[in-house]
C-alpha cells in the first residue's frame, strides 16, 4: 500500500497571467484527515479541481492512491468520492433517485443507497423531491453521493457550508470517524479554521497559489510555541517597534497586538522593550498558539491582508 493517498509534484495551473496554483507539492498520508486552508482566492478549489481532473494542469503531476491520475483516470475516480463546493443535485428528483442516478453511472451496488441514506439520516426524506430539501439536507445528500461507492479517498470542498451548528458538529464527528471506521482518507478544505483544527490530523496552508506549510497539526502547534497578546496605549507605534526588533506582530484593529514567541522569557523581553520605549503596557498574556495563529503568521509573512483575523479566514 502506498504511503500517500494524494501526492502532487510541481502542480501548476494558470488562468491568463494569474498563476492560481504554483508548483504545489501536496503529501496527504493514507488514513489522515487533511485540512486544506487558505483565504478566498488562494487556490484551494482550483487545486481540488486539478486533483479530480476537472481542469488540466499546466505543469506537474497528480498521483492518487499511488497511481498517476492522467493514465488511470477512470479506475482512480472509481475509488474517489467528491463534494466540490455546493452539492450537485437534481431538484426535480427525489433524494433516492439522485443517489440511484449516480449509482447507475458509477456501477456500484444497489444496497449502498439504503446504507448511505441511513448514515446521513436521510432515510425518512429519501422519497421527497430534493427541491424541497433544506440546505443542510442537501449538503448531507451531497455527502451521501460522495460516499455512495465506498471510496478510499474523500475530497470535500467546504463541506459544512449551509449547515446549522448542530449539523456542523455532526459533520465534524462523522469526518473524524471516517478514517478509523471505514479506512477512508479525507481531504477537506474549509474556510472555518476552527473546523479544520478540530478534525484534521494534518494541514496544508495555501496562499497566492503556493503551499506555505503542510504537516501534522500537533507538530505544527508544538513548533510554533506560544502566543502573546499585548495591549498598549499606542499600538501603531508598538507595532513599528516590534517589527524593527524582528518580531512578526500583528494588530486586529484595536489596542491589542498578537505575536508568537518561543518561550515565556521572550514575553518578558518584549514587555521590557515596549516599556523602555515609553509605552504603557496594560495587558500581557501568554497562551498556546492555535491554528489561526499559524495561518495568520504564515500568510502575513507572505504579504496577505486578511479583513477578519478571527476564526474565519474568508
Amino acid at each position: 500500500m502506498t504511503e500517500w493517498a494524494i501526492s502532487t509534484s510541481e502542480l501548476t495551473r494558470r488562468f491568463g497571467t494569474l498563476t492560481a496554483v504554483d508548483r504545489v507539492g501536496l503529501r496527504v498520508p493514507q488514513g489522515s484527515v487533511y485540512g486544506f486552508l487558505g483565504p478566498n482566492g488562494a487556490g484551494k478549489t482550483t487545486t481540488i479541481r486539478l486533483l479530480l481532473g476537472l481542469i488540466r494542469a499546466h505543469g506537474g503531476e497528480v498521483m492518487l492512491l499511488g497511481q498517476p491520475l492522467r493514465r488511470n483516470r477512470l479506475a482512480l475516480l472509481g475509488q474517489v468520492g467528491a463534494l466540490v463546493e455546493a452539492p450537485s443535485l437534481y431538484p426535480h428528483l427525489t433524494g433516492r433517485e439522485n443517489l440511484e442516478l449516480t449509482r447507475r453511472l458509477s456501477g456500484c451496488r444497489r444496497d449502498r443507497i439504503g446504507a448511505v441514506l441511513q448514515t446521513m439520516r436521510l432515510a425518512d426524506a429519501a422519497d421527497r423531491k430534493v427541491g424541497g430539501y433544506s440546505s443542510g439536507m442537501r449538503q448531507r445528500l451531497g455527502l451521501a453521493l460522495a460516499l455512495l461507492c465506498e471510496p478510499s479517498l474523500l475530497v470535500l470542498d467546504e463541506p459544512t457550508n449551509g449547515l446549522d451548528p448542530a449539523g456542523i458538529r455532526e459533520m465534524r464527528e462523522f469526518v473524524r470517524r471516517l478514517p478509523e471506521e471505514q479506512g477512508v482518507t479525507v481531504f477537506l478544505s474549509s474556510h472555518l479554521l476552527s473546523e479544520v483544527e478540530q478534525v484534521a490530523t494534518h494541514i496544508g496552508i495555501i496562499h497566492h497559489g503556493q503551499l506555505l506549510f503542510q504537516g501534522p497539526t500537533d507538530g505544527l502547534r508544538a513548533e510554533l510555541g506560544e502566543r502573546v497578546t499585548v495591549a498598549v496605549d499606542r499600538p501603531a507605534q508598538a507595532l513599528q517597534i516590534l517589527h524593527k526588533a524582528g518580531w512578526h506582530a500583528r494588530r486586529n484593529g484595536g489596542e491589542e497586538l498578537h505575536l508568537e514567541v518561543n518561550s515565556r522569557s521572550d514575553a518578558a523581553m518584549l514587555n521590557a522593550l515596549l516599556v523602555h520605549q515609553g509605552l504603557n503596557v496594560f495587558h500581557l498574556s501568554v497562551a498556546q498558539a492555535t491554528l489561526e495563529d499559524v495561518f495568520l503568521n504564515l500568510t502575513q509573512q507572505s504579504g496577505c491582508q486578511t479583513d477578519h483575523p478571527e476564526r474565519s479566514i474568508s
Binding site: 479541481r49 479530480l52 476537472l54 477512470l74 479506475a75 437534481y90 426535480h92 447507475r104 453511472l105 458509477s106
Partner: protein, 265 residues
C-alpha cells in the same frame, strides 16, 4: 458500450417529472390542432373531391411541411436546451465528470437522448395525422378520408424527416451543452429557424441544416402527387445524406469539444 448504456439509463431517469417527454407529445399536437382547424375552415375545398393527391396525402403533406419548416427546428432547440439545463442549472458537470464514466459517454448519451425525444415527437406527429384523419372520416364524412390511410408512405417519410434532422440535433446539442445560458441555446435555434424560412427559397437550402427536414417533407409532397407508395425521384437523397453524415460528424466533433474543456463551474 457499457458506459454509454449506463449514461443513457441515467438520462432517462433525469427525464422523470420534466417537460421533456410531455413536450414531445404537446408540440405535434399543436401542429395537428392547427391543421385540423384549417381543414374545418376549408371544408368546401375538401368536399369538392378535386384535391390532386387526395385528402389523406394533402393533409399529411401540409402537416409535415409545417412541422419540418417551423415546429421541428424550434422543438429541437427547446428539447436540447432542456436536456442541457438539467446539468447547467445545478452545476452538475463537476459531479458527473468526477464519476468513473468517460466524458464522451456522458455527451453521447445526451445526444442520443435528444434524438430519442425528437424521434418520439415525429412518431407522435405521424400517429396523430392518422388518428385525426380517421376521426374526420367519422365526424366530417365526405372530406375524402374514406380511403385507406397511406401508412407506409407516412412511416417512410417520418423516418427520413427524422434522419434529416440529425444535423440540427447535433448542432443544438453542442450549443446547449457548450454554453450554460438557456437564452443562448434558444436564441441560436430561433434565429436559425427564422433564417431558414428565407433560405428555403434559395439554392443554399440543401446546405442549410435548419431547412433539411422541410426539404425532406417537400420531397414527400412531390412524391405523394406521383404515387401512393414507394420512394421515387422525389426523395432528396442529398439532403438526407447531408443530415445524417453531417449530424454524426458534428456530434463527434461537438463531443470532443465539450468534453475536453475545463470544468470551472
Amino acid at each position: 458500450m457499457r458506459y454509454l448504456a449506463r449514461a443513457l439509463q441515467a438520462e432517462m431517469l433525469k427525464a422523470r417529472r420534466t417537460m421533456a417527454l410531455w413536450l414531445a407529445l404537446i408540440a405535434p399536437a399543436v401542429v395537428i390542432a392547427v391543421q385540423v382547424a384549417m381543414i374545418w375552415d376549408r371544408q368546401a375545398y375538401y368536399r369538392q373531391q378535386e384535391i390532386p393527391r387526395g385528402a389523406w396525402l394533402e393533409y399529411g403533406a401540409q402537416t409535415m411541411v409545417l412541422w419540418g419548416l417551423l415546429m421541428l427546428p424550434l422543438f429541437v432547440t427547446l428539447e436540447t436546451a432542456l436536456v442541457a439545463q438539467w446539468e447547467h442549472t445545478s452545476a452538475q458537470w463537476k459531479h458527473l465528470f468526477t464519476l468513473p464514466v468517460p466524458r464522451g459517454a456522458i455527451y453521447a448519451a445526451k445526444q442520443i437522448a435528444g434524438m430519442l425525444f425528437i424521434g418520439l415527437s415525429i412518431l407522435a406527429l405521424t400517429t396523430l395525422i392518422v388518428l385525426t384523419g380517421l376521426g374526420m372520416r367519422l365526424l366530417l364524412p365526405g372530406l375524402g378520408f374514406e380511403g385507406a390511410a397511406p401508412l407506409w408512405a407516412f412511416a417512410k417519410y417520418a423516418l427520413t424527416m427524422f434522419l434529416g434532422a440529425w444535423l440540427i440535433i447535433a448542432i443544438q446539442t453542442w450549443v446547449a451543452q457548450r454554453w450554460s445560458s438557456f437564452a443562448v441555446a434558444c436564441g441560436v435555434g430561433v434565429a436559425m429557424t427564422v433564417a431558414g424560412v428565407l433560405v428555403i427559397q434559395s439554392d443554399w437550402a440543401s446546405y442549410y441544416p435548419w431547412t433539411l427536414p422541410v426539404l425532406v417533407a417537400n420531397g414527400f409532397s412531390d412524391e405523394a402527387m406521383q404515387t401512393l407508395s414507394g420512394f421515387t425521384d422525389g426523395l432528396p437523397w442529398r439532403e438526407l445524406l447531408f443530415g445524417v453524415l453531417g449530424g454524426l460528424l458534428f456530434a463527434v466533433w461537438g463531443g470532443h469539444d465539450v468534453t475536453r474543456r475545463d470544468v470551472v463551474c
